[in-house]
């Protein structure tokens, strides 16, 4: 670590902070500890906002929420050992949903690595299967270049989490700061445009189709292709369904909108997919929650699959025309050569399906669906919505009308309970002037409820609508339907959420009657504080329709 003449010597921590500035990072979510102290010391005077969460998992989810809301990389930070392992669920959540996240972890000094030192964990080993890539920096002179590579990998191609492990001696060491050079990774060349020959083949299939359906996923949102998707749908007059991750990629109030497909999709989306002769899959990965019994998925359809990740092609289903490339670039290529192909008979058939099988629920008592609709109405659809996982998530997906990308933020792939509240904190930090709601269950909210302190601490007026049925509702629903109502360990004895919110310095509102829903929401929105609204909903309300596990998606209950 020799001093070089004419250049200012910086500690590794200071270099990291400078690199973060270079990357345009404005906010870091983290939790300090011994091994990462040199970084925190440098952050102390830095022009970067640091949000101290109350648990490292909260920091990872908050950074994830920030990234999903903005499209910019989220940054989280934790110390070695348990600090680092507490990030793992958050990193895995981001990996499954292709979220650009950069996680920095402290590590014991290089000389101590492998000796089971205090708070040592092999975090690069542990996170190998749940990161896009990770690094252990062993030399302070490699630090700046590594940070640049980490951000490059996290944000390009199919985005994903990257972890950088920083031994304490590396961040404490001083060296002359060298501007990192251009990123050269010979094993990493994310594709952009699709192969023109494949695009032509796709256009030919589309021209011959009589019953096309567009099936879009989160890739449309990550590549910023919502506008191209709308143009494609309108050119073809083809109905559009999306995955959970794709909600917001297509306007939910558009006449071509089919709603979500799959296990808790609309009946008409599932019927349309089952009847279509061409399925145009865009930035989606044929997840089992979407396909149901995969052999019977879209049985009459030729399949065009557009994805930036070549490994997604043919992973779960057979594809007729694969196009590997950035969704936005490929859709532009397609739009250039496509002709209108309206298929009026198919449009009529889809309209009929929509009329015949509407999404509906019985309005007696305090219904969760009514709460979700009320949140939509009171916020005029302008809010950013996060969810937890389970019934709350599915009711939100079904009953909130999402019209813009990055307004529905939910853990789809990993299905992480406890995601929504810290994610909402991240979203509120990213979008200080917008309304943010976490639609939660009474089970999920308790998995990261400590972040109430963070929300109060940073005066983040996040609203949490707890759909409280005193159960782990989705598990109870499965027990009701598939385990003869044997409710094994799904009933919850809950705290008084109103008092709990108040104890943290937040506001709490109890809602027990349908007529109290809207006033409570208005009160929450008007409040400058974080608010918990405890909705005591119908305890055994189910999420319907439902495709039982292992069944084809046209076989729905409810």
């Amino acid at each position: 670590m020799g001093k070089e003449k004419g250049k200012e010597a910086l500690t590794g921590g200071e270099i990291l902070v400078r690199c973060l500035k270079e990357e345009g990072v404005e906010t870091v979510f983290g939790y300090p500890g011994g091994a990462i102290l040199p970084v925190y010391d440098a952050l102390y005077d830095a022009d970067i906002k640091h949000i101290l969460t109350r648990h490292e998992q909260g920091a990872a989810h908050a950074a994830d929420g920030y990234a999903r809301a903005t499209g910019r990389p989220g940054v989280c930070m934790a110390t070695s050992g348990p600090g680092a392992t507490n990030l793992v669920t958050g990193i895995a959540t981001a990996a499954m949903d292709s979220v650009p996240l950069v996680a920095f972890t402290g590590q014991v000094p290089t000389a101590m690595i492998g000796r089971d030192a205090f708070q040592e964990a092999d975090i690069t080993g542990i996170t190998m299967p749940v990161t896009k890539h990770n690094f252990l920096v062993k030399d302070v002179r490699r630090l700046a270049q590594t940070v640049k590579e980490a951000f490059h990998i996290a944000t390009t191609g199919r985005p994903g989490p990257v972890l950088v492990d920083l031994p304490r001696d590396v961040t404490a060491a001083k060296t002359a700061y060298e501007e990192p050079g251009p990123v050269k990774l010979r094993g990493y060349r994310p594709p952009r445009e699709g192969n023109p020959a494949q695009v032509k083949k796709a256009a030919a299939l589309i021209a011959g189709a009589e019953r096309p359906v567009i099936y879009a996923g989160g890739g449309v949102i990550s590549s910023g292709a919502a506008e191209e998707l709308r143009q494609l749908a309108e050119t073809l007059m083809a109905p559009v369904t999306t995955t959970l991750m794709g909600l917001g990629a297509f306007p939910g109030d558009h006449p071509l909108w089919l709603g979500m497909l799959g296990m808790h999709g609309t009946k008409y989306a599932n019927y349309a997919v089952s009847a279509c002769d061409l399925l145009i899959a865009i930035g989606a990965r044929f997840d089992d929650r979407v396909t149901g019994k995969v052999e019977s998925f879209a049985p009459e359809a030729k399949v065009i699959h557009i994805d930036i990740d070549a490994a997604e092609i043919g992973k779960n289903v057979r594809v007729d025309v694969p196009i590997v490339g950035d969704v936005k670039a490929v859709l532009r290529q397609l739009l250039e050569i496509l002709q209108a192909n309206p298929n009026p008979a198919w449009q009529e058939k889809v309209a009929q399906l929509k009329k015949e099988y509407p999404l509906e629920y019985k309005e007696n008592g305090l219904k969760p669906q009514a709460v979700v609709r009320a949140i939509y109405e009171v916020t005029r659809g302008k809010a950013r919505i996060t969810t937890e996982v389970g019934q709350n998530q599915m009711w939100t997906a079904q009953y909130f009308t999402f019209t813009r990308p990055r307004t529905f933020i939910s853990s789809g792939g990993l299905g992480t309970m406890g995601f929504g509240f810290p994610a909402a904190i991240g979203v509120q930090v990213a979008c200080p002037d917008e309304l943010v709601f976490d639609i939660a269950g009474d089970g999920s909210i308790q998995m990261n409820i400590q972040e109430l302190a963070t929300a109060v601490n940073y005066e983040l007026p996040v609203n949490v609508a707890i759909l409280n049925n005193g159960y782990l509702g989705m598990v109870r629903q499965w027990q009701e339907l598939f385990y003869e109502r044997r409710y094994a360990y799904t009933e919850l004895l809950n705290p008084d959420f109103v008092k709990l919110a108040e104890a943290y310095g937040a506001e709490g509102i109890l809602v027990e009657k349908p007529e109290e829903i809207k006033p409570a929401l208005e009160q929450a929105i008007a409040s400058p504080k974080p608010v918990f609204i405890d909705f005591h909903i119908d305890r055994e309300e189910n999420v319907m329709p439902m495709v039982p596990p292992g069944e084809p998606i046209h076989k729905m209950l409810g």
Partner: protein, 168 residues
């Protein structure tokens, strides 16, 4: 179906772990694996023999390519190539058996590389079938220990798998 992949990777610590982790996580079966650095010290070559159906084998190649440290993946099975494996076999060889063993060694063009009082170590190179056949031929004498390197392979002719070449 079995395929032999020639995989060029960055010669970084942890690369083998990344590849192994990928195989174990996705449930792929490695038949054999040989790793060493290439003429370019920044690049290592892994020769991986994988068993699976066509879909699995396609995924193996694609998932390997997704690893940042993987520079190139080539399925050499589909191309004209030379493949070799080396084995060291320690067999029981008392005075009575030696002559016969040496005769078999001769036929297989193997070499005796160590002579002990009751054992011989034989070195043999060849393709997998040859080594399997030799192993069978030695079995009646009593195999004390056996080690195989796993397969290595190169494309025939002037075609190469190099790091600089763009992936097709």
């Amino acid at each position: 179906m079995r395929r032999t992949f020639s995989v060029l990777v960055e010669n970084h610590p942890g690369v083998l772990a990344r590849v192994a982790s990928l195989f174990s996580r996705r449930g792929y079966n490695i038949d054999s694996l040989a790793v060493s650095r290439t003429d370019d010290p920044s690049v290592s070559r892994m020769t991986i023999v994988v068993e699976g159906d066509e879909g699995v084998l396609e995924q193996v190649a694609k998932q390997l390519r997704k690893l940042i440290d993987v520079i190139k993946v080539q399925d050499v099975t589909a191309e004209e190539h030379v493949e070799r494996e080396l084995a060291l076999i320690k067999v029981s060889a008392d005075a009575a058996a030696r002559a016969e063993i040496m005769q078999i060694v001769e036929i297989f063009r193997a070499h005796i590389v160590d002579i002990g009082r009751r054992t011989l170590i034989i070195e043999i190179t060849g393709d997998e079938k040859k080594i399997d056949a030799f192993e069978e031929a030695m079995r009646p004498f009593g195999i004390r220990e056996l080690v195989r390197t796993g397969k290595i392979a190169l494309l025939r002719g002037s075609r190469t798998t190099t790091a600089s070449e763009r992936e097709e």
